[in-house]
């Protein structure tokens, strides 16, 4: 359904004729992104490519005047980027793609939404700086990962979640008003999220972000870390078989296996106490097998060999990134002592070599989309953060609800396909369970909701905190009362700041 001519003309006046369209063949590119869902998204009424925050403000005001809904998005990878109601327009912010500032002294970067991980991460390397890249691929928007979506990452043991990196924020409210947060509010620069001036960082991002539902974030500053690698990625080889090795003097990867999840948990906690390591995580094993192979057939050959189930059902990945060979030697010695004390041992050297030969796993995670290869369908049934101990309790309960789906061959039989990532040297940890299913399965469209429902039942039974935020309205209703009635106050926030979509 296209826009009335008058409204179209108003919007066209703002962005220019080249950057608006309601032609069906243009909209076709924005209504197909849900191969893991049986529901085809509604078509947007139009798509716009605004170039500035001021244009965004004007567009929002036009939407309000005419009762249009709008969805801001950049790469449109996730379902929240698609309309669920008629009369919705899409604002694709990809033309707003400037790196406004890289401040080496105070270590922050100011970016617009269209700047992608591949661009910023490699640009910052030239300045010896870095930030934790969420695993979305090089084309993912940095701003969206930091300000609007969950943004967990492999390196958050020595770093943190992306919400902890947000500094100044420029935000176009659903009313069209521009709000500047943190130090930016007082024209004091981008350096601080929490004042002088209002913070509202929790509102902008919370744990997982409102996915663009609270207006449009048009610029943010993010804090930066030191990059302990070369100014340019030393990539060798050709797609899809790249080799990306960093100097073993300062960058080392280890993978250990443990006899029980409790032992693995203890090792993770002790490593945190020792404050060593850049990345410390129990990684998914089926996902690891997908990342390690080049086709679905290759995956099945590897998976059916049982190697990754045998070696990686309780693995601990550790990536050391240090300032010197001496520091590396120290961290390795401490690590080995902890692993020996907790009963760990090294996995098959061939598996460790995969990561030694391609450390992109700890940099840009450029091959993450391989998890989509088995039929295009995957979903997280767990997504939360709490103590390391609690995350492992949740992990131990996963087979209780997952195995019945695997037994019916509705999903890939991979009950250990969950990750627990240590955060801030083990002060917290994050859990995520991925289950993989396929469109060709009978009633495939019902599988994800069934798995998630059983996952929630298990959480309630055990008193686990494994799914934050609740990912659907029925679950919100069930879990909300257990979380200080979050369903009520989140609804109030949505009423106050939501875009009505």
């Amino acid at each position: 359904m296209s826009l009335p001519k008058q409204i179209y003309a108003e919007l066209e006046q703002i962005v220019g004729a080249e950057y608006i369209s309601d032609r069906e063949y243009i909209l076709a590119g924005l209504r197909h992104a849900m191969p893991s869902s049986p529901v085809k998204p509604l078509s947007p009424a139009a798509v716009l490519l605004p170039g500035t925050a001021e244009e965004v403000q004007q567009i929002v005001r036009v939407c309000n005047r005419h009762g249009l809904k709008f969805i801001p998005t950049v790469s449109s990878l996730i379902g929240f980027a698609y309309p669920t109601a008629l009369n919705t327009i899409i604002l694709q912010l990809k033309r707003m793609n400037r790196i406004v500032e890289i401040n080496r002294t105070d270590r922050y970067a100011v970016i617009e939404p269209g700047v992608r991980h591949g661009q910023l991460r490699t640009e910052l390397m030239k300045a010896g700086l870095s930030y934790p890249v969420a695993a979305v691929g090089p084309g993912g928007s940095v701003l969206v990962n930091f300000a609007c979506s969950s943004g967990d990452n492999h390196n958050q043991h020595g770093a943190s979640r992306t919400n902890r990196y947000i500094l100044g924020v420029e935000w176009v409210l659903p009313s069209g008003e521009m709000v500047r947060l943190g130090s930016l509010a007082n024209d004091a620069g981008w350096f601080c999220a929490d004042g002088p001036g209002p913070s509202l960082r929790g509102l902008v991002k919370g744990y997982a972000g409102p996915f663009g539902g609270f207006g449009v974030i048009t610029r943010i500053a993010i804090g930066l870390d030191e990059w302990r690698g070369p100014a340019e990625l030393p990539t060798e080889g050709r797609s899809p078989d790249y080799k990306l090795r960093l100097s073993p003097d300062r960058h080392k990867v280890f993978i250990f296996k443990f006899p029980t999840l409790d032992r693995l948990r203890d090792a993770m906690i002790e490593i945190g106490k020792a404050e060593i390591g850049q990345a410390v995580l129990k990684y998914f094993n089926a996902t690891a097998a997908l990342l390690a192979t080049q086709s679905a057939n290759d995956f099945w050959e590897l998976w059916e060999s049982g190697l990754f189930q045998r070696e990686l059902s309780r693995p601990l990945y550790v990536y050391l990134a240090t300032h010197s060979a001496e520091e590396t030697a120290y961290e390795e010695a401490v690590l080995r002592e902890i692993v020996a004390e907790t009963g760990g041992e090294e996995v098959d050297p061939a598996i460790r070599a995969i990561y030694e030969n391609n450390m992109d796993f700890f940099i840009l995670v450029g091959f993450l989309q391989r998890v989509l290869r088995l039929g295009g369908a995957w979903a997280p049934a767990k997504l939360s953060a709490d103590s390391v101990h609690h995350m492992f309790e949740i992990g131990k309960a996963i087979p209780e609800f997952l195995e019945e789906f695997a037994a019916k061959r509705l999903i890939v039989d991979a009950p250990d396909n969950f990750q627990i990532i240590s955060m801030e040297y083990g002060h917290l940890a994050h859990i995520e369970l991925l289950f993989l299913w396929d469109r060709s399965m009978p009633a495939w469209g019902e599988i994800p909701m069934q798995v998630m429902a059983r996952s929630h039942e298990t959480e309630i039974r055990h008193g686990h905190h494994g799914s934050m935020p609740p990912r659907s309205m029925p679950m919100l209703g069930t879990l909300g009362p257990l979380y200080s009635n979050c369903h009520i106050w989140s609804e109030k926030i949505r009423e106050a700041f939501g875009t009505g979509r």
Partner: protein, 417 residues
């Protein structure tokens, strides 16, 4: 050619992940030169991308999208450079470029394509066996009397339309190089027709098949077991299109591969020195798209299993090393790489019929490539495709930045002394 309906798995599998629009992570070098798809970079809407074309193809297949001129323009504005395809295949088991080509064939079958300029080329091929509509009798005007041909030889040099009519120096240099290396070869003379590549890539399958079958028959009749090309477009057609028509009983080699071999065998010495810094542009059809077509007729089962297993063409086996090794063998030549190189090469804008149908956009793309070349500090951009030459020379000429375009055969021929 696979019909569009046989590519439904690819269309339904796309998750809008964006890998088709960006240089692969490990190859990214910074903020600039990170985009890989010319139409997406230029027009911005997702519909202008590999992902968008898959979505459009699915809606056309399902009768959900009606044809209109803007839609046909969009479909034909893609240069079919295959960057989306190779980048997608770094992570997925999908056939993006196959789908785009099948979509074009479908558009032609439905009477909405190709673009008038492409029809004109097809008409020229039908009448004169070349895409320019030039007299067929002039096809071998480039062949100088001093070129030594060998009768009853099983190696043939296939010059192609562009070298024959527009860039005869390429054909002359190629012949000179082969003679200097003592490699016996022949040419097809009046029996050489257009390779059919430009017609195939614009969806004109029947027309492409006609000339390809002619060439195949001639090569078979003359007992040719090795075809040498100096044109990436012809090379790509022989490697990718001809095997779709039936068994191909000859090897295809690009002149750079031949020279690489002659140097290794010490049959060719490049001794004339000229100091120059160059950057090498990988033509799409010599690089990421040059892996031989391998037919696959099977079933895609649950959880992505391909039965029987499919041999994927992911771009790793393109002709990347030969031109670089040859350039390095030329005394005085220093190669500086562009960010987007090898399988991540950025298109010149000259392919897929875009230069003919949308010359402005073609030149926009070429200028972007020249901007990148200029950033290397090279004095010359070297490549080995007349279609790239046409687009890039024009852009360099308009820019007036002092950078020159050189076909690799010119450098080799000069180095022979």
């Amino acid at each position: 050619m696979l019909p569009l309906k046989d590519l439904r798995h690819t269309m339904e599998s796309c998750n809008h992940c964006g890998q088709c629009k960006w240089v692969l992570g490990p190859k990214t070098k910074g903020y600039d030169y990170a985009e890989i798809c010319p139409i997406h970079q230029r027009f911005g809407f997702d519909a202008y991308s590999g992902q968008g074309l898959l979505n459009i193809a699915e809606e056309i297949l399902d009768g959900e999208l009606e044809y209109e001129s803007g839609l046909v323009d969009l479909i034909y504005s893609c240069t079919t450079c295959g960057a989306c395809d190779i980048n997608c295949k770094s992570v997925r088991d999908m056939e993006v470029l196959e789908t785009i080509l099948a979509l074009r064939a479908r558009v032609v079958a439905d009477g909405w394509g190709p673009m008038p300029a492409h029809q004109e080329a097809a008409g020229a091929v039908a009448a004169h066996h070349n895409i320019y509509g030039r007299a067929h009798e002039q096809r071998f005007d480039w062949l100088a009397p001093e070129v030594k041909l060998t009768k009853n030889c099983t190696t043939a040099y296939f010059a192609g339309c562009s070298a024959a009519y527009r860039y005869p120096q390429i054909a002359q240099d190629t012949a000179k190089i082969l003679n200097a290396g003592g490699l016996e070869f022949t040419v097809l003379h009046a029996e050489e027709y257009c390779c059919g590549g430009p017609l195939w890539r614009t969806g004109q399958i029947a027309e492409a098949r006609k000339v390809a079958e002619h060439n195949l028959a001639v090569l078979e009749k003359q007992g040719i077991d090795r075809v040498i090309t100096s044109c990436a477009e012809c090379f790509g057609a022989f490697r990718d299109f001809y095997p779709r028509l039936g068994p191909v009983n000859f090897r295809v080699m690009h002149i750079t591969e031949v020279v690489q071999q002659l140097i290794a065998e010490q049959r060719l010495t490049l001794h004339h020195r000229e100091d120059r810094k160059v950057t090498y542009h990988d033509p799409c059809l010599l690089g990421r798209l040059s892996e031989p077509y391998v037919p696959w007729n099977g079933e895609i089962q649950a959880f992505g299993r391909h039965e029987p297993p499919k041999q994927w063409r992911r771009g790793a086996q393109g002709v990347y090393d030969a031109p670089r090794e040859v350039l390095q063998a030329i005394p005085g030549v220093e190669i500086v790489e562009m960010v987007r190189n090898e399988e991540n090469s950025y298109c010149c804008g000259g392919g897929g019929g875009v230069a003919e149908a949308f010359p402005d956009f073609s030149q926009w793309t070429a200028r972007e490539r020249c901007r990148e070349a200029g950033s290397t500090g090279a004095a010359a951009m070297v490549s080995c495709c007349p279609f790239c030459q046409s687009a890039l020379e024009q852009a360099l000429g308009a820019a007036d930045g002092g950078m020159k375009y050189l076909d690799i055969t010119r450098l080799i021929a000069e180095a022979l002394g």
